[in-house]
């Protein structure tokens, strides 16, 4: 399965950036994600110059915050999406972004490889399931994430298959809480 191999590969890139400040791994990650971040920001209403500037800043933030990436709770695409979203709120809407309290403070135990693989596979399955949704439903989801719908226009997303990935994330949170106590 190409999708899975890709996702796990990106985790490996993130760990090389975190542990060894590996610029080769970063260049590959940049090659894949920077143009998508730029496309995402332009679709969200940013002009080309602003989108370019923000895409660079997002990728620089990915490097700086690499130690906060937890592969048992998010895929690399998901984590980069949250960084890009926050940059968009700051640059386009000129407001601060309060984020939930971080669960992992300071050095964390090395994550279990099986947990990492399961979450990454679950993310790939979710992406496939979204790709299979009827066109109009997929359009609505994209519009919501590109910021084209206001909160009052977003209705309950009944078609989204979120059950199993939610359980994986919940399990990862329980383990993290357990490890901290």
């Amino acid at each position: 399965d190409v999708g899975n191999a890709d996702a796990e590969n990106w985790v490996d890139h993130m760990l090389r950036i975190r542990d060894a400040q590996d610029e080769v791994a970063f260049a590959q990650l940049f090659g894949h994600f920077a143009p998508r971040i730029k496309g995402f920001l332009m679709r969200s209403g940013a002009g080309e110059a602003l989108a370019e500037e923000c895409a660079q800043e997002v990728m620089a933030t990915v490097w700086r915050k690499a130690h906060l990436f937890d592969p048992t709770r998010a895929s690399v695409a998901t984590w980069i999406f949250t960084v890009a979203r926050n940059r968009r709120i700051d640059a386009l809407r000129k407001q601060r972004r309060p984020e939930p309290e971080d669960l992992g403070w300071g050095p964390e135990p090395e994550p279990d490889q099986a947990d990492v693989m399961e979450l990454q596979q679950e993310s790939a399955r979710l992406a496939e399931a979204i790709a299979q949704l009827p066109r109009n439903q997929r359009d609505l989801i994209e519009q919501a994430f590109f910021g084209e719908l206001s909160h009052s226009e977003i209705a309950a997303q009944t078609g989204l298959p979120l059950g199993t990935i939610k359980s994986r994330i919940r399990l990862a949170l329980d383990r993290l809480r357990h490890a901290m106590s």
Partner: protein
């Protein structure tokens, strides 16, 4: 402690997408800090965002984009690892807006022992801390928009529902209510609105412009 009143899918999705006014973002971030159930639901919705990003048509980056980014990285270096703040009443996102925990709040009296502190947030919605003495009820009111009320300490009662620390109440244009603080202890909550409330009695209506409720 079990949380029984959670965020709706609509609110979590709008927060994941980054389309809420800042005031609501703060209430959502505060609830998620206290509630692992909603944290997991948020994680799942953000995974949808990750899939959308990964599927977005690429826009070619400028020449020298990677080199410029690497220069930025070398100039600024890594983020320092921040120490965990001591446990308190406020979760980290709320603390950042107050500038500390409970003792740092700058209260303004509203009369009858009720106090409020409006927190700074971008236009579009207002967010405030409310301190309501034990047994005291808020004036009966309706809503012209959305109202989120997150309990931080004590409890309040609304019709047949009870709300304790961690619980959130979502009131809409259809809601008319008179929330009352629990009898044993004052109630401390964080509340955000995107439109002025609709009071059914004269006195609070007169005071409304002064208190920005």
């Amino acid at each position: 402690m079990t949380i029984r009143h959670h965020l709706s899918d609509e609110l979590l999705l709008a927060y994941a997408a980054g389309t809420l006014p800042e005031a609501f973002d703060l209430v959502v971030a505060t609830h998620v800090s206290l509630c692992d159930e909603c944290r997991a639901r948020l994680g799942a919705l953000e995974a949808v965002g990750g899939a959308v990003l990964d599927d977005t048509p690429a826009a070619p980056v400028a020449d020298g984009s990677l080199e410029a980014t690497l220069r930025m990285i070398r100039d600024r270096g890594k983020d320092p690892i921040v120490a965990r703040p001591p446990a308190g009443v406020f979760p980290a996102p709320l603390r950042a807006y107050v500038g500390g925990d409970l003792e740092a709040v700058r209260w303004r009296p509203l009369g009858g022992g009720v106090k409020q502190a409006i927190l700074p947030a971008a236009r579009g919605a207002t967010v405030r801390l409310m301190h309501i003495p034990a047994g005291v009820a808020m004036p009966d009111h309706g809503h012209r928009g959305l109202e989120l009320t997150q309990v931080l300490q004590g409890a309040f009662f609304d019709k047949d529902d009870e709300f304790y620390r961690g619980d959130i109440e979502i009131a809409t244009e259809e809601t008319q209510h008179t929330p009352r603080a629990g009898a044993d202890q004052h109630c401390l909550c964080l509340t955000a609105t995107d439109a002025p409330l609709r009071f059914s009695t004269m006195l609070p209506r007169l005071a409304q412009p002064f208190f920005r409720i």
